[in-house]
Amino acid sequence: MATITLTDKDRFLINQEGQDFSHEAKTFIKIRELALKNLKGLDFPTRKLEDWKYTNLREVSKTEFRPQTAVNIIEEKIKAHKIPNLDAYVLVFVNGFFAPKFSNTVEEKDGDFIVTNLNKAKKDFIKLVEPHLGFQTRAKDQFFVNLNSAFSQDGGFIYVKSKAVLDKPVHIINLVDGDLVASYPRNLIVAEKSAKAKVVVSYETIDSNSALSNVINEVVVAEGANVILDKIQNENSNTYHIGADFATQQKDSIFTINTIPANAKLIRNNLNIVINGTNSVANLYGAICLNGDIHVDNQTFVDHAKPNCESNELYKTVVNDSATSIFNGKIYVNQIAQKTNAFQSNANILLSDDARANSKPQLEIYADDVKCSHGCTIGQFDNEALFYLKSRGIREEVAQKVLLDAFIGEVLDNIEEEPVRKYVDQLIADNFNSKN
């Protein structure tokens, strides 16, 4: 008698099946089929892999997460996840599925921009979606990228026409509701020539005892375009969040991403930026303040493929309790990418004996006329500064907060929208307090 032994991955993938994508255009089904094919040859990444050295996903592979639609979503529950005073186009997704009732879309065919859900765009704006969707996520060796490509339910689609400016930011709210939920939200942001867009993507929880959010943001930055993406990760402490962001820039463009991993059980971010045109700037900022036993792993990759470009990367981390932060940043400067200016810095402050920070800044340079620097620091708040503040009557906890704001503020100053900044400030202030 022949026996078939199912691996954890096999069981996991079986649980993801059952979604019907047959209504999609062939071109999009192809993306899913290719991803499924890739998944056959892949497995959950293990700590044996250099890039996964510090992050263990055994529990994810053994948990019966599956896609589920949420029931009984009421306005009240959604409201709590909006950013106060932010005037924005809002798209809401619950468990990866679009919630049109709580969203405001802009879909005029001859308008300056389109803000809608990706499933709708795949039907109504197929010519705008097809050239870009999945274009940056074809890597065969990335398990979670392929997982999202295969099973993504929906996501935001933002398209800004040539020379047009998105008049308000778009806020894409991704919520999780229910136990053992697997969500695969996937956003596609396209800024055509000289277009401008500001997008805030937040990930939060309505209610869940266990969840997996496997998310992707694909950003296309055409010649002369300017895109700002703020990514706020604030799910509950039962959630595994594994995300990847992709951006490709053409010449004279600017792309800025502010990553704020605030809460979850585990967060893994893979940020991939390809600067594929001259005179472009990529800004990568991370503001990370952690407490409890959260594990946050940020991996960044900047590919300087063309000359005369600049990248600025600053990740600042404050770790309390027994939380862990990992930073692994790589800057790759192609042989032809002369006159590259690349700066990378990761500074960590540990507030408790059990807090951990691992930092690995990397430069790989093949051009000979470049200006590149990288560095990392791990330490505590400056005792002299603390004493100075206290000697002026400022209580220890207030003094620490003053120094925190100064430290993280340098990163947060890059968030342009005041309401978003306030929202993030509060998340960081809350996380600064010990959970113990």
């Binding site: 206290k390 000697s391 209580r395």
Partner: protein, 252 residues
């Protein structure tokens, strides 16, 4: 106001203060002078509550409270202010936010409501004028990129804002040119009243031309070995410390 009795303190196992006595009454200015390594800065640090210094004996009463029992921020709340010899640079914290936080923390400690912005700004402008501190420095990070003179004037400015009962000036004159010295001194003289007191720690006599002390103490080997009037400072300037040291060591 301040009564230091037999104070002994050490740092990293090395005893620096060896039974220091000093009494300061409201309205008085005391100068503490002494050669390098005599314990001048240790005295200032112990009064402000620096953790690295361990008090191993004696007592410090401040307005009937055991000062040594209070945290540094509580000492500030009670009305002790230390002007640092080396003011600390704090990148990313604006001078104005820093001083506003400090003022309101101290007010909170003293049971007063937080100062309204308008009132605070008026207060700020008045005190900036006192030490001729440029308004531009308010928005800069605390002490970052300040010149030596600006840093010291910033110390006196903070002192003016916090209205302490006892100001301890730790070698505020070091690294100052004569103009800055005059500004700092006139700031202190303006703040001086019958209700507050100052302990001016200095290596040189020249500051005392501008801040005239009621008493001059000589600190040597962790103790105050001689106390006199302002003329003592002049004598020290002229003759150095050796004659006093000889006098002491001759006695023992």
């Amino acid at each position: 106001m301040l009564k230091i009795d037999g104070l002994e303190a050490e740092i990293e196992g090395k005893q620096i203060l060896k039974g220091l006595n000093l009494e300061v009454k409201p309205g008085e200015i005391h100068a503490v002078m002494g050669p390098n390594g005599s314990g001048k800065s240790t005295l200032a640090s112990v009064l402000a509550g620096r953790e690295e210094y361990e008090v191993t004996g004696g007592s410090v009463d401040f307005l009937e409270k055991d000062l040594l029992d209070l945290a540094p921020e509580e000492r500030a709340g009670e009305g002790v202010f230390l002007a640092f010899q080396y003011p600390v640079e704090i990148p990313g914290v604006s001078n104005i936010n820093f001083i506003k936080t400090a003022v309101n923390e101290v007010r909170d400690y003293r049971g007063l409501p937080a100062m309204e912005t308008k009132e605070f700004m008026a207060h700020l402008k008045e005190k900036q004028k006192l030490v001729k501190l440029s308004g531009k420095l308010a928005n800069r990070s605390v002490n970052e990129g300040f010149s030596g003179g600006e840093k010291k004037r910033n110390e006196i400015f903070q002192m003016a804002m916090l209205e302490p009962k006892l100001g301890v000036l730790d070698e505020t004159d070091s690294g100052l040119d004569i103009d800055a010295l005059r500004i700092v001194a006139s700031g202190v003289n303006e703040l001086k009243s019958s209700k507050n007191a100052f302990v001016v720690i200095t290596h040189y006599q020249r500051l005392l031309d501008y801040i005239v002390p009621d008493f001059v103490h000589v600190l040597y080997d962790g103790k105050i070995v001689k106390t006199g009037s302002k003329e003592l400072a002049l004598e020290l300037e002229e003759k150095g410390y050796d004659w006093i040291i000889e006098e002491i060591e001759g006695k023992s």
